[in-house]
C-alpha cells in the first residue's frame, strides 16, 4: 500500500458492505471509535447479493490484496433472501479461486449486523492481519495495473 511504502507491508482491503446491516455496522464501529486499519476501504451495495464475482476479480486484478464481503446475518436480510444467494455464490467462487491456487485467506464472507460495530472492527482487524501474513497479492494481479 501507498502509505507506508518503506515500512511493513500494508495490504489493501476492499470491503463490500450491504447497506442495511454491515454498512450500518461499519458506521457503528465509527460511532464507537473502534479502530481498524485505514487500508480497509468500504464500498456500499444495497445487498450482499449485489456483489458480482466480477467486482471481486476486478479488485484483485487492480491490486487489492484481500476482498471481504459483509452482509446481514442469514435470515435477517433486508430483502429476505439476498444473502442466501450470496452465500452460495461466494462459497462456489471462493472454492474455485482456491482450486485455481489463489490463497484462500484473501477472500472472506462475514455476516455483520447493524448492531455489531465491534464485530465489524474486529473482523477487519483480523482479516487485515490474515492478508498481511500472505503478503501482496501477486497471483491475481494484472501486472500492467500495478502502481508505479
Amino acid at each position: 500500500m501507498q502509505v507506508n511504502e518503506n515500512k511493513e507491508f500494508q495490504p489493501l482491503i476492499v470491503a463490500f458492505c450491504c447497506n442495511w446491516c454491515s454498512y450500518a455496522g461499519a458506521d457503528l464501529s465509527g460511532t464507537n471509535r473502534l479502530n481498524y486499519p485505514s487500508n480497509v476501504k468500504i464500498i456500499r451495495v444495497p445487498c450482499s447479493c449485489r456483489v458480482n464475482p466480477m467486482f471481486i476479480l476486478r479488485a484483485f486484478q487492480r491490486g487489492a490484496d484481500g476482498v471481504i464481503l459483509c452482509g446481514c446475518h442469514p435470515g435477517d436480510c433486508h430483502y429476505t433472501s439476498g444473502n442466501y444467494f450470496t452465500r452460495r455464490r461466494m462459497t462456489l467462487l471462493f472454492s474455485m479461486l482456491d482450486f485455481l491456487g489463489i490463497e484462500r485467506d484473501r477472500t472472506r464472507v462475514e455476516w455483520v449486523s447493524a448492531a455489531e460495530g465491534a464485530k465489524f472492527a474486529a473482523t477487519m482487524n483480523e482479516f487485515t492481519e490474515a492478508v498481511k501474513k500472505l503478503g501482496p497479492n501477486r497471483r491475481l494481479e494484472d501486472l500492467r495495473c500495478r502502481k508505479q
Partner: protein, 663 residues
C-alpha cells in the same frame, strides 16, 4: 462533459481533527471533471447546503460529491438540497469520511489519504450516475397490529380513530396482554383492569377494528404500502361467531386440573376456558392437550351444555390473507425463566415467587381473591424480601445485559401496597441502584421509604435457603452497614428481568426488520425515528423495542399509530428509483433473474425485434415492475449477460469505485 462539485465537510472537529480537510478538497479538485472543490465547517447546516445549492447553479454542476458523515445520515439532506437547486437528486454521492474514516483512524496522514481515496471513488461513481425519477405505488388503506397488549390496543384505537381499518392479531385467546395480569399501576396506584378493560371493550366495539385472537402471522410478503400477510387463526374448537361467553361450559367441564397461565400457574382452570372475566373476545377456547373429548373421544359435556351449539371438536386452523399498507409490531415482553438461578431457590420453594406472580397473588381476581397468602401453606406472610435486578444487568450467560427498567418502580409499588394492606408485615428491598427517572417516580419511591417504612438495603442477596420450619433464610450483604445479613423471611419476591417475546425473532425474519443481540427490534434511528423500524412501513410499539413501563408504552403506541396514519393517508408513496432494469437487447429470457427475485417483480414478455437482416424476431425478455422491485440486485448477478442492471448501483458504477480504490 461532466462538471462535478466536491464539498468536504469538517463536521466541526469530528472530521477536521483527524482528516486534513483542506488537502482533501485540494486533491479532489484535481480529479477529472471536478470544477469546484470546497470545504466547510458544517455542510449539513443551512449555510452549508446553500453553498452546495449555489455552486450547482453557479457552475451548472452535473454531479455533486459530498465528503461528510455516513450517507445513512445525510444522503437525503443533500439530495433534497440538490433537487432544490435544480439538479436531479440522484446525481449526488456521499463519501463517508466520518464514520468510516475520521472516527476510526488516529493518524492524520493515513486518515487524510483514505479520505481522498474515498472521495475519488465517489467522484468516479458520480461520473456514471444517471438522473433517476422515482415512481409511485399505491397504499393499501389498512393497518395490521401484531400483538394485542396495551401497546397494540392503543395503536389500533388511534389508527381506527383516524378512520382506517385495523386488524389486531393476538396469539392468546384474549387481548389485554401483560397489563391484564397486573394488579395496580405505578405511580398512581389505580387498578390496571379499571383502565385497561374499557380500552379492550372499546377496541372490540370499534367498527374499524377487527380482532383476530388466538391467531398468528405466518407469512409476510410485499413492501411498504403493499404488504400481503397470511394470518393463521388457530383452531379454538369453539365457533367464535356463536359463542356468547356465558361460561356454562367452563363451569361444567370435568377437566379442572389445568395450570392456569393467566394466574401464572398458581391455580387451575378447566380444559375449556375463558382466560378471565373481562376477556375480549369473550369466547371460550378448548385446550386440546387436556380436553378429554379431544384426547379420548369420551366426554362432550361442553357440547351438551352449550345452548348455541358453538362447540366444534373438528375445527381446524384457518388461514386468511389480507393486504395491509402498514404493519405495527407490538409483541411485548415476558419475564425471563429463573431456572438457572439456583441461589434464589425459585424452583425449590413455592414461596419464592416472581413479581408477576405476586401481582396475581395480590389481585382480587387472582387465586386467593386478593388476600396475600403464601402459596405453600396459605398463611399470611409477615416478612417479605424483595430482590431487585434478578437477571438484569448481567454480563453472564444466565441473564440479560440491560436494565429491565420497570422493576424498581413495581417493587416500590408492591412494597407499598403490602405495607398499606398489612401493616404488620416487614418488607425488605435489596437494591443495587434505585432507578426512578419518570414523572412522579422518585416521589413514589420515597413515599415507600418515608411513609411506608419499607426497608431499602443497598446490597444483593447472595443465597436463599428454604428452611425446614417453613421460613426462608435470605443471606445478603448490606453494603452501607458493611455486614452480612440473614433474614428469616416468609416470602421472597424476585424482580425477574424482562425479555422480548419469543415470537418476535421469527416475526422479524418474516418482516425483514432488524433486531439487536437481545432480540429487541431495532429502531430506524435511536433518537430521531424511535418508533419506526429500518424497513419502510413497519412500526414499533411498546416493549418489543425495549423495556418500557405503561405510560411510555402507551406514548410510543400512539406515536407508532401516528406514523402508520401518516403512511395510510397517502394514496400512493414514492418508490425507490434505485431499481433493477433489463436491457432488452441483451436479455436472454432465461428466467434466472425471476428465480432469485424475492418480490416477484420480474415478468417475461414476448417482444418483437427488428433484426439486422430486416426480419422480425420475437424474443422472450425480462421486464421489471419498478413499483414492486426493491432494488436488492440479486437479479443482476444471476444474469450472465449483464442485461440486468441496478439503477444507482450499476455494474459500471461499482466497478468504477473498485478501480478508484485500487488505483
Amino acid at each position: 462533459m461532466q462538471r462535478i462539485g466536491v464539498f468536504v465537510c469538517h463536521c466541526g472537529t469530528n472530521i477536521a481533527a483527524t482528516v486534513d480537510v483542506k488537502s482533501v478538497a485540494e486533491a479532489l479538485g484535481h480529479e477529472p471533471g471536478v470544477v469546484i472543490s470546497q470545504d466547510y465547517q458544517y455542510m449539513c447546516s443551512e449555510s452549508g447546503q446553500n453553498l452546495v445549492k449555489n455552486a450547482i447553479k453557479e457552475h451548472n454542476l452535473t454531479g455533486v460529491v459530498v465528503c461528510s458523515c455516513s450517507p445513512r445520515m445525510h444522503e437525503n439532506t443533500f439530495r433534497k438540497a440538490a433537487a432544490a437547486a435544480g439538479l436531479n437528486p440522484y446525481l449526488v454521492e456521499i463519501a463517508n469520511i466520518r464514520e468510516q474514516c475520521s472516527w476510526i483512524h488516529k493518524d492524520i496522514a493515513s486518515a487524510t489519504e483514505k479520505a481522498i481515496i474515498l472521495g475519488k471513488a465517489a467522484v468516479a461513481k458520480v461520473h456514471l450516475n444517471a438522473p433517476l425519477t422515482a415512481g409511485e405505488s399505491p397504499v393499501a388503506k389498512r393497518a395490521l397490529v401484531i400483538g394485542g397488549g396495551i401497546a397494540g390496543i392503543q395503536t389500533a384505537l388511534d389508527i381506527a380513530e383516524a378512520g382506517f381499518e385495523v386488524d389486531i392479531v393476538e396469539k392468546n385467546p384474549t387481548i389485554g396482554g401483560k397489563m391484564a395480569q397486573i394488579d395496580k399501576t405505578f405511580p398512581t396506584l389505580d387498578c390496571a383492569a379499571c383502565i385497561l378493560t374499557p380500552k379492550m371493550v372499546e377496541a372490540s366495539q370499534n367498527e374499524k377494528i377487527t380482532i383476530h385472537s388466538f391467531s398468528e402471522v405466518t407469512d409476510v410478503k410485499g413492501f411498504v404500502g403493499n404488504f400481503t400477510v397470511t394470518i393463521k387463526k388457530k383452531a379454538r374448537f369453539v365457533d367464535e361467531t356463536k359463542c356468547t361467553g356465558c361460561g356454562l361450559c367452563t363451569e361444567k367441564c370435568p377437566m379442572k386440573k389445568v395450570p392456569n397461565e393467566f394466574n401464572m400457574g398458581l391455580d387451575n382452570r378447566t380444559a375449556i376456558y375463558i382466560p378471565f372475566a373481562q376477556a375480549v373476545p369473550k369466547v371460550a377456547t378448548i385446550d386440546p392437550n387436556f380436553c378429554m373429548m379431544m384426547k379420548t373421544g369420551k366426554c362432550g359435556v361442553c357440547s351438551k351444555v352449550c345452548s348455541v351449539g358453538a362447540i366444534d371438536y373438528k375445527q381446524e386452523d384457518r388461514f386468511i390473507e389480507q393486504k395491509y399498507g402498514a404493519i405495527v409490531v407490538a409483541t411485548g415482553f415476558n419475564p425471563i425463566k429463573l431456572d438457572k438461578y439456583d441461589e434464589f431457590a425459585y424452583n425449590q420453594c413455592p414461596d419464592v415467587v416472581t413479581s408477576l406472580e405476586l401481582e396475581r397473588l395480590m389481585n382480587a381476581a387472582g387465586p386467593n381473591g386478593g388476600t396475600l397468602l403464601r402459596p405453600s401453606d396459605k398463611t399470611h406472610p409477615h416478612k417479605i424480601v424483595f430482590v431487585q435486578c434478578v437477571g438484569s444487568r448481567c454480563d453472564d450467560s444466565k441473564g440479560k445485559p440491560y436494565c429491565s427498567k420497570i422493576c424498581c418502580m413495581y417493587t416500590a409499588k408492591h412494597a407499598m401496597l403490602i405495607r398499606e394492606k398489612y401493616p404488620d408485615t416487614e418488607v425488605y428491598v435489596f437494591y443495587i441502584d434505585v432507578r426512578t427517572p419518570g414523572k412522579n417516580f422518585d416521589e413514589f419511591y420515597r413515599r415507600a421509604v418515608e411513609q411506608y417504612n419499607v426497608h431499602y438495603i443497598k446490597g444483593m442477596v447472595g443465597k436463599v435457603t428454604p428452611r425446614s420450619d417453613g421460613k426462608i433464610d435470605v443471606q445478603a450483604s448490606d453494603l452501607l452497614a458493611n455486614e452480612q445479613l440473614h433474614i428469616d423471611a416468609d416470602m421472597v419476591v424476585l424482580a425477574a428481568a424482562i425479555e422480548p417475546d419469543k415470537t418476535a425473532r421469527p416475526l422479524a425474519t418474516m418482516l425483514t426488520t432488524q433486531m439487536d443481540t437481545n432480540d429487541f427490534f431495532t429502531e430506524a434511528h435511536p433518537k430521531l425515528r424511535p418508533v419506526e423500524s429500518a424497513t419502510a412501513g413497519i412500526f414499533l410499539s411498546g416493549a418489543c423495542q425495549g423495556p418500557k413501563d405503561i405510560p411510555e408504552t402507551v406514548a410510543q403506541a400512539s406515536a407508532a399509530a401516528a406514523k402508520a396514519i401518516g403512511l395510510l393517508v397517502k394514496d400512493s408513496i414514492t418508490c425507490n428509483p434505485c431499481v433493477a432494469h433489463s436491457d432488452e437487447l441483451m436479455c436472454n429470457g432465461c428466467s434466472s433473474c425471476e428465480k432469485v427475485c424475492p418480490y416477484g417483480a420480474i415478468t417475461y414478455i414476448d417482444k418483437e425485434f427488428k433484426m439486422p437482416d430486416r426480419t422480425i424476431a420475437v424474443r422472450r425478455v425480462a421486464s421489471v415492475n419498478p413499483a414492486v422491485c426493491q432494488g436488492c440486485g440479486a437479479c443482476t448477478v444471476a444474469c450472465p449477460s449483464g442485461a440486468m442492471d441496478l439503477n444507482g448501483f450499476s455494474n459500471n458504477q461499482i466497478m468504477a469505485e473498485v478501480d478508484a480504490i485500487c488505483k
